[in-house]
């Protein structure tokens, strides 16, 4: 049996209770909505882009502990990153939570490595990636994120 603490790590619980950058963004020049139709979780991600750089990022919405913590930590790590770096991180994060590259444990992902436990809970992968899909939609100028079926 997988230990629930692998999924609900302290950092995740802490972020879910007190999410960072959890507000609208008056000077946002990109935004997108993301909905998980399975459960109704929904987030809006706001970006203030300066050329290719993410100057500021925030989010609003409602969701479970995993999706909220993921969104919170995503906004923390992405502030100041470039578009390409953000997409690269999404790719790495995706591999981490789907268990595609479990062994590495995502050391290059920094704090985001706490989400490695999600790979043991396939039903929760979409929770962890919802904010990232929404970010991706905002970056490419789509109003709404599309969640892949096979995730």
């Amino acid at each position: 049996m997988s230990d629930l603490r692998d999924l609900y790590q302290e950092v995740i619980l802490e972020h879910s209770k007190a999410p960072r950058n959890f507000h609208g963004l008056a000077h946002a020049n990109h935004r997108a909505d993301g909905v998980n139709p399975l459960c109704g979780d929904q987030f809006t991600v706001y970006l203030h882009m300066d050329g290719d750089a993410i100057r500021d990022i925030s989010f609003e919405g409602s969701g479970c502990a995993i999706s909220k913590a993921s969104a919170s930590m995503m906004t923390q790590i992405l502030k100041g990153k470039s578009r390409a770096e953000a997409e690269k991180l999404f790719e790495r994060f995706h591999k981490l939570v789907t268990g595609e590259e479990p062994a590495k444990g995502g050391e290059d992902l920094g704090k985001l490595a706490v989400f490695s436990g999600v790979s043991e809970y396939p039903a929760r992968v979409k929770c962890a990636t919802l904010a990232w899909h929404t970010l991706h939609a905002a970056l490419v100028g789509e109003a709404e994120a599309v969640l892949p079926e096979d995730e």
Binding site: R5, L38, D41, S62, A65, K68, R124
Partner: protein, 427 residues
């Protein structure tokens, strides 16, 4: 007092006095369901997601296996032994459904894929023929998406209006508002018998009476009702009744639309194909009689036979007793979780079926579901295909435990322990 009303009175009384199952009967029932022996994450399975789908007794599984092993053939087509035999069994299943719902005739029973397809059939066939621009379809604020979206599609196509009768804080239909929305342009009322998200039992008899006074036909979505209470379509006098086999211990892929013969006869076909025609030329086809007019193509023969077995199983035990047992579980569960600080039950109608929807602290239902799953407890979390209900209560989702005939008080104790575990994890 009419004979029907006297019967209803007697029925209610019987229900009130019906007792559930003894410990040994319950043990026997549980033994009939092979899946319940299973362990999940090393713990005995506690299956409390019956409103999503119910488990299948051995009798149903055996009926399907026996059909494929001994009888399988296409129906209505062959002169050979197997085809005749399969046709007979399929017809017998239809008569079992007829008896189960107390329909006047087996030709009023249309086999479909499930409640969803039954409602779509009525919307596309009856609805498209009868609903015009400016007309209205009236539903309630507690419908499943499958009793909302088919009407939206119809109304959008026709320029008609979808009207929604509100529900109150307890999750009950506000009857006066419903009555005032039932207007001169209402062409159809569609209402759930029992709400899947809240457990509310709607006063369908009153609804139908009022609608009929105004010459408006009524479709009842019985997906959550037939597993828990005796339904008599003649006594209700509903015009259409829809349900899914898989929620009443039958297989997936099979369901039923009951329709009054005079309505079904007057309705245009839903889908075209084999079996639904009397004759075909390239210029014109004439249609088969009901119910075959609505059953294009090879049907789910094994599914119908499995459903027949399920309805016989349920009828043999008696729906009054099943209902009484589930009512006992609901009361026990309601009492047990009411003592948990921070837990709020969503849906407190005076008349409720075995559904316990709740929210707990600020913990998202998804997280509750994952933690309970680790304890072997299966519940549903989310919006339960009833997003408007969630919006009405201003919550994104609930956790929902729903009960069936094989559930026990001990399992509810497990649920309560599981919820305490959730509190531990979220500290």
């Amino acid at each position: 007092m009419t004979a029907a009303a006297r019967n209803l009175g007697a029925g209610l009384q019987a229900e009130r006095h019906a007792v559930g199952f003894s410990a040994s009967e319950l043990k026997q029932i549980r033994a009939d369901f092979p899946i319940l022996r299973q362990k999940v994450h090393g713990k005995p399975l506690v299956y409390l997601d019956n409103a999503a789908t119910s488990q299948k007794p051995r009798a149903v599984i055996d009926a399907i296996v026996r059909y494929y092993e001994t009888t399988n053939a296409n129906i209505h087509r062959g002169v050979h032994f197997l085809s005749e035999h399969a046709t007979e069994e399929h017809d017998a299943a239809r008569r079992t459904v007829q008896k189960f719902l107390n329909a006047r005739s087996a030709s009023e029973i249309v086999f479909v894929r499930g409640a969803t397809e039954a409602i779509n059939l009525v919307a596309q066939s009856y609805g498209r023929a009868r609903v015009a621009s400016g007309d209205e379809v009236l539903i309630t604020g507690m419908e499943h998406h499958s009793d909302i979206v088919p009407w939206q599609l119809l109304c959008n196509e026709k320029g008609a209006k979808l009207r929604v009768a509100p529900i109150d804080d307890a999750g009950e239909l506000v009857f006066d508002e419903f009555a005032s929305l039932l207007g001169p342009r209402t062409r159809l009322v569609a209402v759930t018998h029992v709400s899947n998200a809240l457990g509310t039992v709607n006063p369908v008899r009153r609804i139908i009476e009022l609608a009929h006074e105004r010459k408006v036909p009524v479709l009842v979505d019985g997906a959550q009702a037939v597993p828990h209470m005796k339904v008599d379509v003649q006594e209700l006098d509903c015009d259409f009744y829809a349900f899914s086999g898989h929620k009443v211990y039958g297989p997936t892929g099979i369901g039923v639309l009951y329709g009054k013969a005079e309505l079904l006869n007057a309705m245009p076909p839903y889908q075209g194909g084999g079996d639904m025609i009397a004759s075909v030329t390239f210029e014109k086809s004439t249609y088969n009689k009901v119910p075959f007019k609505f059953e294009a193509g090879t049907p789910d023969i094994a599914g119908a036979i499995g459903l027949g077995a399920a309805l016989r199983y349920v009828s043999d035990l008696g729906l009054e007793r099943i209902g009484a047992h589930e009512h006992d579980l609901l009361e026990y569960a309601t009492g047990a979780v009411s003592g948990i600080p921070g837990l709020r039950i969503v849906g407190s109608a005076a008349e409720k079926a075995g559904v316990l929807s709740f929210i707990f602290e600020n913990i998202h239902p998804h997280d509750i579901g994952t933690i309970l799953d680790q304890e072997g407890i299966a519940i549903r979390t989310g919006h339960h295909c009833s997003q408007p209900v969630m919006r009405r209560f201003n919550i994104p989702a609930t956790a929902r435990a729903s009960f069936a005939m094989y559930n026990t008080r001990e399992e509810i104790d497990e649920l309560v322990r599981g919820i305490e575990k959730v509190r531990e994890v979220f500290g």
